[in-house]
Amino acid sequence: MTCQELDDRLDDWVDGALPAAAAAEVEAHLLSCTLCRERERRLRQVLAHAAALPRSVAPARDLWPDIARRVSRERSWSWAAGGWNPLALAAAATVVVGLGAVLWTGPSPSRVRTVQIPTPTPQARLVAGTVGISDPVLAAAARDYEAAANVLLETLQQRRARIQPEDLASVEANLDVIDRALAEVRQALVKSPENPELSRMLVSTHRKKIEVLSRVVKLSTAL
């Protein structure tokens, strides 16, 4: 075996990928050649250095605020352009998918006969939805959810004639509970704006609202 041939096989040799016969040839050459032994030693050193590199390294600064800002900016742009933003779209789409098998299970007060679904007043609702939220990312998320809810409410308003009064009453009752919960979480956020649990509650309550509205819209589509 020449030194060049050894050089060609050195990678497979150190990786343990050579068949036994070829490995024996390499081993024999290494025993007799100082230059190739040095090549092998250096390669093993390089690999030892590579193996010693940490696979997990903390960045020198917190990168999340910039990520959150960019994600938030994309959502704002998307909404301003007149389309669904990713957040609202995901929220609505996820709850709508598979709803064919889900029936409305909310309370049905039979004595209610005349029910008004609140007509959305988009700007007022968007502003109200962010009162007390100082975190711009969270405020943007709340705005997006309210905007998504407005679209669903408008749809519902157009289809209200198709829905049973009892079901409309259930929608109204559920929305009322959810809106009160949202107001309470927003109030709590004024006192503790950094509380991550409150942020989570705000987002999940908004999502619940979208879910309720999506269910009814879906049902009204099937009627």
Binding site: D11, A50, A52, P86, L87
Partner: protein
């Protein structure tokens, strides 16, 4: 002996349950993030940022650029989150995305300027308590920065990250033979750098 076996079995089952709990918790976070929950997405970010940053650092050999790349990875992950079906761990889904972001960014930057090593103190990024320091004075990260980009990417994925040539070929859209050739080139150049 029987008691020991039971203890080992119990420990194994506990680890399995912990893993299942972790996977379940991650699935919930992914589902919430897919529904637009930014708080859940931040948790996913916190759980994965170090591995993503480390890989970006190896691929770019530039701490400031690695920070930009890490941010780009998570912004793209947010955009693509809807396509994640939860069949693998979130980190596994994130891995090829990270590699592709690092490579595409490198390609676009290469057109603008020559790559330079821009870390103020690269050694500080490598300090790992108790880790072996095979040969004093040799800075592998610095030597890696001088490699041709394709060779560096394959070296990082194979010798630092432990990926196979088949996996690398699939991620980088190469033939397996090309991956092996790039690794051969990278190792030879690094051997020479070690000897210089």
């Amino acid at each position: 002996m029987e008691g020991l076996a039971e203890a080992v079995l119990g420990q194994t089952l506990t680890h399995m349950r912990d893993d299942e709990d972790r996977r379940a918790a991650e699935k919930r976070l992914v589902r919430d993030a897919q529904n637009g929950d930014l708080v859940a997405f931040e948790r996913l970010y916190r759980d994965n940022e170090r591995k993503v940053f480390a890989l970006c650092l190896r691929m770019s050999s530039d701490a400031a650029l690695a920070e930009e790349l890490t941010q780009e990875v998570f912004v793209r992950a947010w955009r693509k989150l809807g396509s994640f079906r939860g069949e693998s761990a979130f980190s596994s889904w994130l891995y090829p995305l990270t590699v592709n972001v690092a490579l595409s960014e490198r390609r676009s930057r290469r057109r603008r300027d020559a790559r330079i090593f821009a870390t103020d103190d690269p050694a500080s990024l490598e300090k790992q308590p108790g880790a072996p320091r095979p040969e004093a004075g040799f800075d592998l990260q610095k030597a890696m920065a001088t490699l041709p980009p394709g060779a560096r990417a394959v070296f990082v994925l194979h010798d630092v990250e432990g990926r196979t040539h088949d996996e690398i070929a699939a991620m980088l859209n190469l033939a397996t033979g090309t991956s092996k050739a790039q690794l051969f080139r990278a190792r030879r150049l690094l051997r020479e750098a070690l000897g210089s």
